[in-house]
Assembly symmetry: C2
Homo-oligomer: 325 residues x 2
Amino acid sequence: MRIGILGYGNLGRGVESAIAQNADAELVAVFTRRAPESLKINSNAKVLNVSEIENWKDKIDVLILCGGSATDLPEQTPKYAEMFNVVDSFDTHAKIPEHFENVDKAAKKGGKIGVISVGWDPGMFSLNRMYANAILPEGNDYTFWGRGVSQGHSDAIRRIEGVLDAKQYTVPVESALEAVKACKNPSLSTREKHTRECYVVLKEGADAKKVEEEIKTMPNYFADYDTTVHFISLEELKQNHSKIPHGGFVFRCGKTGLNKEHNHIIEYNLKLDSNPEFTSSVLVAYARAAFKMFKEGQTGCKTVFDVAPAYLSPKSGEELRKTML
Amino acid sequence: MRIGILGYGNLGRGVESAIAQNADAELVAVFTRRAPESLKINSNAKVLNVSEIENWKDKIDVLILCGGSATDLPEQTPKYAEMFNVVDSFDTHAKIPEHFENVDKAAKKGGKIGVISVGWDPGMFSLNRMYANAILPEGNDYTFWGRGVSQGHSDAIRRIEGVLDAKQYTVPVESALEAVKACKNPSLSTREKHTRECYVVLKEGADAKKVEEEIKTMPNYFADYDTTVHFISLEELKQNHSKIPHGGFVFRCGKTGLNKEHNHIIEYNLKLDSNPEFTSSVLVAYARAAFKMFKEGQTGCKTVFDVAPAYLSPKSGEELRKTML
């Protein structure tokens, strides 16, 4: 399958390297809003300005959209779903129903497939929540994130006056994790589930105490959490905090039996050295699924819930049954 | 959906209690090879001899087959897939391709759906192996089982002369689990992955030393493992070893990045108080899927790889996107 990428940030670069790991996929073009000649990519694909994208309608089987969820994808995914099979990682949970409707309309109009909200949350975590709920109708769900870098929280710190740079780690509370694993079905407040660790580089002359106060009291982002702030040098930030690891846990603790006497715990967990590269790897697997579904004549918007697992694999049904079942 | 059960052992009873947890499912009939009046069941369903099953063609939406994989299912699943939508838990991995072909032919002939090899392994473990392989094409897979009761190994001990009763636990080796979780990609022999713990009740006058020797050297079952044998009283066996817990772990450790510099670990794990009740819960979710696929006009044999996740849930696509994605 011939793949195009729109947007060449962390995610776009991740998709490029994931494609190199899949023998049935080929990266043919990278589209950018920047000047194409300013982009140095890691493969032999063409680099083009996004204004040329319509000319590639018949030369690309799936377009992977690597923009952001805030402003890029709500516009791009419906727009390009009319011309291409598309896959995106739209992750604004509350706006997924609206995004789904827009993409569905466009994809059906164009006779294409649009797979949205692919990655790990939404994505693999959603799948595991859904499977576990279908299997154990009576029970409790728990999702923990981390230990990992939250880009949104890091950005929020960077916007504070006096801050030169920052990284924020979301950390699950060990005792909460243990209580869930022990099937105690705890009720956990926001504060009891995660802590937040901030590594902050100050601008010269900035007031550390004031910055710390501003971080810890920031509504939505930090006020509801136990937050620790470490002031470090720019060198230390670059040396020890330049990676973007992440991960987390999805649990369902359920009961079965005539008297609900048996407990069961389903746990799915991810430990990822690179958040964008893992997300990209999921995107490429769903690009394969999109192309297979398109070739079968299916159209419209799909989420991970709508895609039969076998579509993700390069193996045939026969091979899968023989080797994986 | 109206459900029928064929076979009322541990699994059949588990399906019965799982149905009581699903508001959209109703158990209408239990079929048995025994005399119906000898069966005491836990619901208001009819109990009938299997010879009457054909009369229920139009009164049952899905028939859940709760027989054994050795001799029951290879015959029953193809036979009844011609008359009913069926779901089974066929778990002889090596014979799945053959079973698939037989069920596929019968289900297509009858215009029905047959979902085979549903449970946790094969089943949820297979799904997780497959998803993880599609996402991380370069990596290693590890499956560990336990700590839990292996019925097959317990039965093998019971067949030894001088043994009155026995329970066998399969136990993952902690150091092997730790090496996998630490992304060390170890090469593990059979002996390095699991140990086997046996609790054995001797008949009067039996030779303990001889029995222990016979267990530990039994080919396929014990010879390749570090096995410990504990001789206990019948009372102790009943008191401490009457439950049938199980579980296990599926890992994929994979690499991404231009220089394969990033490690990722996907882990799925189950801790089950009751192996048959969990398997039954999976069977009921796939019964729902079978009926939905049938209503859409699909026919033939399916495995967990072929069933889009949303089919398993009683919720609509819209509800799922809103609450689970």
